[in-house]
Symmetry: none
């Protein structure tokens, strides 16, 4: 499965440390970008829009705390979660760190496990999950909370990809999408799969929906597919 990997910016002046962290995070399915200074970090934030920052306490030039404080003050970045990294012995600064706006705080040395765990926790805490209302169309219901699709209350069994595909369609009705667009939206931007694969999943989805609903997914010849309540 290609999870919508979150991007993490690692800010530390020691390259080996950055590497180590990057390796750990990438193994856990995160995308990593790095920066050795606050200047670089700032550029990266604007450029790559990470979902979280791992920020070393000790940095040449602007200190980590100062940088954190600044980020939290700026409107554009105030929501960006920050985890502070501090070496053992700097523990007194923890209060400062948290008050500067850090969302969590990890003391070196730490295990990759701990890092990943806390990172997950922070992301979970800070990623607001929008209100997820069930979507219903002609007796076909997709409930994102229960992660379930039903046809007139009868459960429909589909795989994860078909589920995402249907979810995308139901939240984007009446409009035609090319295979490439669907791959982007449903599979995630940076995976390479054949465009025809979309056809296969469309087919599986239609089959699962059964005669009652398969007509909702219409093929737009020469272009792609469309989810529509109107007859084609």
């Amino acid at each position: 499965m290609t999870k919508a990997g979150k991007t993490v910016l690692i800010v530390d002046d020691e390259a080996p440390i950055r590497e180590m962290i990057a390796v750990a995070l990438e193994m856990a399915g995160y995308e990593c970008i790095e920066a050795a200074s606050t200047q670089e970090a700032h550029a990266q934030i604007i450029d790559k829009k990470p979902d979280l920052i791992l920020l070393d306490w000790m940095l040449p030039g602007t200190s980590g705390v100062e940088f954190a404080r600044r980020l939290k003050r700026e409107d554009r970045t105030s929501e960006l979660p920050i985890i502070m990294l501090t070496a053992k012995g700097e523990e007194d600064n923890k209060v400062q760190g948290l008050e500067a706006g850090a969302d969590d705080y990890i003391t070196k040395p730490f295990s990759p496990r701990e890092l990943v765990a806390r990172l997950k926790a922070v992301l979970r805490r800070t990623t607001p999950q929008g209100v997820e209302e069930p979507i219903e169309v002609q007796g076909l219901t997709l409930d994102p909370v229960c992660h379930r699709v039903t046809s007139h209350d009868k459960p429909i069994d589909i795989g994860p990809t078909e589920y995402r595909l249907l979810q995308f369609f139901m939240t984007h009705q009446e409009r035609a999408y090319s295979r490439a667009q669907l791959l982007d939206q449903v599979w995630g931007g940076n995976v390479y799969v054949e465009e025809r694969t979309v056809d296969v999943h469309i087919r599986r989805l239609r089959k699962a929906l059964g005669e009652a609903h398969e007509h909702l997914i219409q093929t737009v010849r020469g272009t792609g597919y469309r989810f529509s309540t109107k007859a084609s």
Copy 2:
């Protein structure tokens, strides 16, 4: 609504510290009672029935850890959430603290803000939302008061973790949860265990429930698990 101000018991042998904490908590709308020793603490618990305990690690006589362990073992107090306070340099002990049953730990010095935040988090996590009414689903009953699970009045024997897992599921039916969410909710946010551990406990729970009820716990492929009375 009359906000039922929660009562917090502060156990620390240094009066100034107690005072400082009390002031911070009262400003945040909590009621505070204090104790300088475990003996006093015990009396206060019985007398005032606090909703949470802030427990210093270092205490004359019975140590904080020991006291925590004892509280968690006693039936009457096992549900009482505990936050451990540890001074700088004792951080190595945090594992011990958590294993003794503490729900969170805070390292001195800490900011009032941090204290209140974590206290809230712990209360949110541990305060059962529902009333203490037994929950029954298709002959499967979980009685939070007796701390027992029965299938058509026949007792079912499960471990503490399985119990909490089942309780969580029965109070959050129909909704799908990821392994991470379950770890958060059932294990508590500050411990790190492998996500696959959830699978194992799900397995144990299913086995304990037996054929009669195991279908209530459904696996949501690619996502996690769900407790549902409807067929999958």
